[in-house]
């Protein structure tokens, strides 16, 4: 079992966004269906789930959807936990 509450991977940049889906660079060590925090450019933090992980990219589904994502200012942070 992962003691993942102590481990946090910071600040991966988001490269594309479409509807409720965000596509970011590959995040090594992220687990399939892991819960992540998406920090939007306005400071708001929403929860999301990594629904497609690969060495090319990570696709995150944001719970509650996103209306506007400022790609430059937003970040994805992994918490190391699944649902």
């Amino acid at each position: 079992m992962d003691f993942s509450s102590l481990y946090v991977k910071e600040g991966k940049a988001i490269s594309k966004a479409k509807g409720a889906l965000l596509i970011a660079e590959s995040i090594p060590g992220i687990k399939f269906n892991e819960i992540v925090d998406v920090q939007l450019s306005n400071g708001e933090v929403k929860s999301g789930q990594a629904i497609d992980i690969s060495e090319e990219a990570t696709i995150v589904q944001v719970f509650g959807g996103v209306s506007e994502v400022d790609l430059i200012g937003s970040k994805i942070r992994c918490k190391g936990e699944t649902l």
Binding site: P28, G29, I30, N33, I51, D52, I53, S54, E55
Partner: protein
Amino acid sequence: MGKIWRVSGPLVIADGMKGSQVYEIVEIGEEGIVGEIIGLEGNKAVIQAHEDTLGLKTGERVRGTGRILSAELGPGLVGAIYDGLQKSLLTLIEDTGSFIKRGAKAPALPRDKKWHFTPKVKAGDQVSEGDIIGTVPETELIEHRIMVPMGIKGTVKEIREGDYTVEEPVARVGHDGEIKSLLLMQEWPVRKPRPYKQRLDPSGLLTTGMRILDYMFPLALGGKASIPGGFGTGKTVALQQLARWAQTHLNIYVGCGERGNEMADVLYSFRQLKDPNTGRLLQEKEIFIANTSNMPVVAREASIFVGITMAEYFRDMGYDVLLVADSTSRWAEAMREMGGRLEEMPGEEGFPSYLGSRLSSFYERAGMVECVGSPDRRGSVTVAGAVSPPGADFSEPVTQNTLRIVDALYALDVSLANKRHFPAISWLTSYSLYVDAVKDWWDKVDLGWEDTRATALKVLQQEAELEEIVRLVGPEALPEGDKLLLLIARMIREDFLQQSAYHEVDTYCMPKKAGLMLKTIIKFYDLAQEMLNSGVGIEKIRSSPVVYRISRMKDVPNEDFEQRAKELWLEMEESLVARKRVA
């Protein structure tokens, strides 16, 4: 050893997999989740995971096993409950509790149980693939015949009676200087049909105890049938009746993606109900594969193919096997999901373009065959696949593709179910192409079956044609002859076709009783016709006490029916008398 490159639901792409085979089984991640390679591209392998992929990370190891998805075959199969990957659920419950833990292993055949083996050949005999070398009394109803695996032949060097586990050698066979050990168990890749000497035409009735099937739309041994039905049409009950009462040697029930509590119901009843012919508990002739709707979607396909492989194995022993799959639509939906993940071009309704060929690769393994090896013997696999068309619309792809493959259709009708007519199998839409194949069988049980059947179907057809007029002008405006026709049609529907699965006696109707029941109704029709012709009014015919007695034929136990029928016929001849015409 490869590593995970991408995970998306049940789809896993692994890198560093050069040298792997298509359909090779792999173990994914630290927990060793079972997956199957479905595509290869350079160094990468496209894998469908048969278990939940939650929590997998890129970079985790992927280990090829060098084996393809195979079923274990041997003593211990009968009465077992498996998941889609042939893991023994009874063993898993003991080891890990009520929820199946990912990566848990539980072999299909118990490894520590000893079976008594009696040889049928002796040292010095020549044997080859498919030959029966001995038997194991697996249950009171099934004698497990141990066969020489495919590809092996030679002279028996050693064979001895005794008690063995499935892994201990029971015989040694020598060929060309090489000695091979034969065990009680074998393996067979599930996607590959097992060979046979020759394919025969389906023949002989597969007795189900359901009158609408056995009498009106017979299913022959070695046949293929489809049972499409919308929600609330009683599909599950009909299939459970089939799995319970079919008079084949062995029945295999594959619960593919359906409700867990329904499967639990079926299981429970197998452990309580007795086979009408032998009086033994049903579980002595059943194998159960449960892949409920919440279990991994990809395992649905595995459950179907594991089921048919086990069916073929028992067929090769010389048995008649029935496989019931509830429901093939869930398997098609699993294919659709994987196809979407693989970014394949979707076909009609989103199903993959290979839906038809994949369905036929399953159904075509049914049939009656001459088995490989000696002694000469015949075996059969009959397949009944349920289909769940959304909105009860039969024009959808799974139903349509299945209809092209099967020879019997039992169309469950929503309007019949609403009228509480069960089994809700429509006599106007259903069909069976096995009427000729079972004619000889039926003539021995009920001479003139084909004609009686044709008469009954004609009456029902005419009733359907009259229905529109009746709706417009009402039944009393019809001529007397038509009124009688409607009365007879109603009797055929209510007293013959309707059958309650929950009734102590009527849940299983022997073919002989069914034949006598319908002949009674037709005889009543003939006598009533004469009365009408001689001027007796329809009211007198309708109010005859015989009408009531005919409606209670269902309640008479199978063994007592012949006597009861004789009494009824006598009563009819005495009371339904045409008026003597005055000269």
